[in-house]
């Protein structure tokens, strides 16, 4: 079974803090994705990566950056957290089409 894990289920941070969300997959997948999920808006793609050290912007990259130094790990970074980044963050990985999701991190920025 594919396993995608995320470093925290719940996280509370203050405005202006730097925030790291970690995602690890154990199936040697090439592709990894970061989404945020908000009520009524569904899942929106922040960044994705097709290979180590490679990254591409998704639909809403502003205020975020990513890092992929190893194939199994994809990190999402909020350089200076703001209250409008309060959301559920989901990581996913895939070999081709079907994406496998982690359990999500619910981030609250106060």
């Amino acid at each position: 079974d594919v396993k995608v894990t995320q470093s925290s289920r719940y996280l509370v941070k203050r405005t202006g803090e730097k925030v790291f969300l970690e995602c690890v997959q154990d199936m040697d997948h090439e592709n990894m994705f970061w989404y945020r999920q908000d009520p009524g808006l569904g899942l929106r793609l922040i960044y994705f990566s097709y290979d180590v050290k490679m990254k591409e912007k998704g639909d809403i990259p502003e205020g975020y950056s990513v890092s992929r130094e190893k194939k199994e790990r994809f990190s999402l970074i909020l350089e200076s957290a703001s209250t409008n980044q309060t959301s559920m963050y989901l990581c996913a990985s895939s070999l081709s089409t079907e994406q496998y999701f982690g359990p999500g991190t619910r981030l609250t920025v106060t």
């Binding site: 995608v4 592709n31 994705f33 989404y35 009524g40 808006l41 569904g42 899942l43 929106r44 793609l45 994705f48 097709y50 998704g58 989901l90 895939s94 081709s96 089409t97 079907e98 994406q99 496998y100 999701f101 982690g102 359990p103 999500g104």
Partner: protein, 110 residues
């Protein structure tokens, strides 16, 4: 811009009812359409559809795609309380990115 629209946004039914969830899309270079079920945590994969008119079935769930009219439906027969979830529709266009709809919240009352 690629777009996926799901309807209804939410519905409440009684156990034993049959429900139909809708997904319409506009996407460049369509490759496939996927349905996911999301309970409290990670979305889990249900179906992937690539060809028109071929029904995919898994137990009480079934789905079909119409590539001419650009929509898909997900049917659930004899609903149970365990079917209560958010159902997500996603479409694959160029590359391995998925574009998600906002989801349909289904609540099945006993």
């Amino acid at each position: 811009e690629d777009k996926v629209v799901q309807s209804p946004l939410s519905l409440v039914v009684h156990e034993g009812d049959t429900v139909t969830l809708n997904c319409s899309y506009e996407v460049t270079n369509f490759r496939s359409l996927l349905w996911y079920k999301q309970e409290k945590k990670a979305p889990t994969f249900l179906f992937m559809l690539t060809s028109s008119g071929i029904e995919k079935k898994s137990g009480r769930l079934s789905s079909i795609l119409d590539k001419k009219e650009l929509f898909s439906i997900l049917n659930i027969t004899a609903t149970q309380t365990g079917d209560s979830a958010v159902y997500l529709c996603a479409v694959q266009g160029y590359g391995n990115k998925l574009v998600f709809g906002a989801g349909t919240i289904l609540r099945v009352k006993s």
